[in-house]
């Protein structure tokens, strides 16, 4: 039909609409202008969020994807526009976030000539995408876009890059959309084998001290309920990875806290005491395991993951189950006997008691001295009744937020885990708020991290995104300073920061900001910040040389836990 003869740019936008996309994060530029021109006609269907830097676009899309479970979409130009999103693409790859990046590219005839703003995006992103493809002809547009979305969101999600040349944007095509649901070389969701599930159930039924560690795979698979049923039927205590947080409610009696370098003492110690360790949707990152050679050696290991590559990659397994968390947990729950394991669960309390006295109380309930970071996180948890969507940057703010936030709902914790990207927090929080406007989005960020993407305050201003920003301001690059203190003889090389007047900056962007330096004012200011849906910043001056504890030093066994700079957890004495 005549009216369906359209150009590649319009075909691209129609495909997005077919894929259910309603929000795009982007920044225009020379080689993507035909798409931006057509976007003008799609204003009623596609909301475009104009960021202030392309890195902001990709992190916002990641925050959006992780808050909603939908695929984040990024639209940028070629060359610098495309290279500016690379950090975020890599971040999305390691943290399994569904994102589709659409980048402009020079015309077909100029490819490979070092043309103005030409970058070899396909070459550059091969190892950090789930799939990438250069669209050189408008005829391929519908095929490429539908395939991109199918790949990005199916199975273990990940980022996909479409590099769209000028010819593909301008060329005419008889448009027809066909949804992609099958690729012959790709099995997104392998069916778990019956034998492996039976074997796992047998191990669990014989176990006296079973323990579960779960990761983001539970959230990505929508298996929160299945996890809870599984744990409660089997009477199995569980620890969470950083990205697994909020998949199980913080007040669940079987939730023993976060595992890993800055995790809780109990789940780390018990990892090396359990007789069966079940890993669900997690990948045994080195921040979780400490030294691999001493990790859970005594235990039979059952590893459940949708990605066959992850099973046995780091930790040799006794039973590997390849499949999505929801299906596997449901099957497994059906086959395990009801247990309580009272004594085993009770044994976690001794570790908890030590942590409460030595670490948590001084961090969350101090009576004198400067404001502690933990107090701030606790005040936000208190004021939001654990229902806020917590976004963090990277560093001490991240670990403290992970440790002391409370989660009563799923999809409530967004953080850059695998890549540890400073500057992630602010744009991710914007994306999360735009994706989930009904939720209270609270960002914890350091004085270092916020300055990496501080330009996105402009996006907050323009979009009126009601993000609540808590700057844990200690005038240091805190996490690096902590490592310098502990492992480099307090030689504080390049970690002291002279900070700008954040209230002044906030005021220039028309965002309200309060400076908090007194403990007495903290709870009131937090309440006030959360009282409405407008953006707000609290610049909180916290204890400058405070450390995140407990801590397992890098390259140490997960059971060698520092309680502070001097004391180790005296397990076994």
């Amino acid at each position: 039909m005549e009216k369906d003869r359209i150009n590649g740019s319009e075909a691209l936008l129609r495909c997005l609409a077919f894929e259910g996309v309603d929000t795009v994060f982007g920044y225009p530029g020379g080689q993507i202008m035909p798409v931006y021109d057509k976007l003008f006609d799609f204003k009623d269907r596609l909301r475009h969020i104009l960021v202030r830097h392309e890195q902001g676009a990709i992190h916002a899309a990641q925050g959006y994807a992780r808050a909603t479970g939908k695929t984040g979409v990024v639209l940028v130009t070629s060359g610098p526009g495309a290279t500016n999103v690379i950090t975020g693409i890599m971040d999305a790859k390691v943290d399994s976030t569904p994102v589709v990046v659409i980048a402009g590219q020079v015309s077909n005839s100029a490819l490979g000539t070092d043309a103005f703003q030409e970058a070899d995006l396909i070459g550059m992103t091969g190892s950090i995408t789930k799939w990438n493809y250069q669209v050189r002809d408008a005829k391929d547009m519908a095929w490429a876009v539908s395939r991109a979305f199918f790949i990005a969101r199916s199975g273990r999600p990940g980022p996909v890059v479409l590099d769209v040349t000028k010819d593909a944007q301008n060329g005419m095509v008889d448009f027809q959309f066909k949804e992609c649901g099958f690729i012959r070389s790709y099995i997104p969701c392998p069916k778990p084998s019956d034998e492996s599930i039976a074997e796992a159930a047998m191990l669990l039924n014989q176990a006296e001290r079973p323990f579960v560690v779960f990761g983001q795979g539970v959230t990505l698979g929508g298996a929160e309920e299945e996890l809870r049923d599984f744990l409660h039927k089997g009477g199995i205590p569980a620890g969470s990875t950083l990205l697994g947080l909020s998949a199980l409610a913080s007040d669940d009696p079987l939730f023993m806290g976060m595992i890993g370098m800055h995790g809780c003492i109990a789940p780390n110690i018990k990892t090396n005491e359990c007789d069966v360790l079940v890993a669900v949707g997690m990948r045994f990152d080195d921040r979780v395991t400490g030294t691999v050679s001493t990790y859970a050696k005594q235990a039979k290991i059952i590893h459940i993951d949708i990605d066959p590559c992850e099973v046995g990659k780091i930790i040799p397994v006794d039973v590997g189950i390849v499949g999505d968390a929801k299906t596997v947990l449901r099957e497994l729950t059906g086959r395990i006997a009801r247990h309580e394991h009272k004594e085993w669960i009770e044994s976690f309390k001794a570790c908890r008691k030590v942590e409460q006295e030595k670490v948590i109380d001084p961090q969350v309930h101090p009576h004198e001295g400067f404001i502690k970071m933990g107090e701030v996180v606790d005040a936000v948890a208190e004021a939001s009744h654990g229902k806020a969507l917590i976004v963090t940057d990277v560093g001490q703010n991240q670990m403290i937020a992970a440790r002391y936030s409370r989660f009563m709902e799923g999809r409530s914790f967004i953080s850059s885990g695998g890549l540890g990207t400073m500057g992630f927090g602010l744009p991710a929080a914007i994306g999360a708020k735009i994706g989930a406007p009904e939720r209270r989005v609270c960002l914890f960020v350091g004085d270092g991290g916020i300055q990496m993407t501080i330009e996105e305050l402009g996006t907050i201003m323009q979009e009126k995104a009601g993000v609540k920003i808590f700057i844990l301001n200690n005038n240091w690059l805190g996490n690096v300073r902590q490592w310098q203190e502990l492992f480099f003889k307090k030689r504080y090389s390049q970690t002291r920061m002279l900070n700008p007047d954040y209230a002044g900056i906030a005021s220039a962007y028309g965002i309200r900001c309060s400076v908090v330096s007194e403990r007495e004012a903290l709870a009131g200011e937090v309440e006030a910040a959360l009282s409405d849906d407008a953006p707000a910043i609290l610049d909180i001056h916290v204890d400058e040389e405070d450390d995140v504890m407990p801590m397992v030093a890098p390259g140490k066994p997960i059971t060698e836990i520092m309680l502070n700079g001097k004391e180790m957890y005296g397990y076994g004495k």
Binding site: S127, W131, P308
Partner: protein, 120 residues
């Protein structure tokens, strides 16, 4: 304990997409595995190619590299064998014109005769 460095052959069945070869080689480079030889051939399945990559390394690295290769969307299957000698039985029938065969035999005979004359 570091395991021994040995020679392995990695076999990949893959869709023939632009840029895949560099992605494959990156998977080896990233793990410090050098590629000794590489061969690519089409298969009977339309669009599917067959690659043999011979490399030296520890079994654990090779195994991870192969899992990584398999995780690529366009890769149908990847696996590895110890050693670089893979026997794959093949038969082929060539149809040649009689003239060509005669020419070929004459050339070879002349070559052989020349060689013998020169080295006598």
């Amino acid at each position: 304990m570091a395991s021994e460095c040995k020679r392995y052959s990695v076999i990949i069945y893959t869709e023939n997409q632009i840029g895949l070869l560099s992605q494959f080689s990156n998977i080896f480079t990233r793990r410090g595995l050098s590629i000794w030889s590489l061969m690519a051939l089409p298969t009977d399945l339309q669009g599917i190619h067959y690659l043999t990559i011979v490399t030296d390394g520890e079994e654990r690295s090779i195994r991870n590299a192969v899992l990584h290769l398999e995780s690529k969307i366009d890769v149908v299957k990847a696996f590895f064998y110890p050693g670089d000698l893979i026997a794959s039985p093949e038969e082929s029938i060539y149809k040649l014109s009689e003239e060509k065969v005669k020419d070929f035999i004459r050339e070879r005979t002349e070559e052989k005769q020349n060689y013998l004359n020169n080295n006598r």
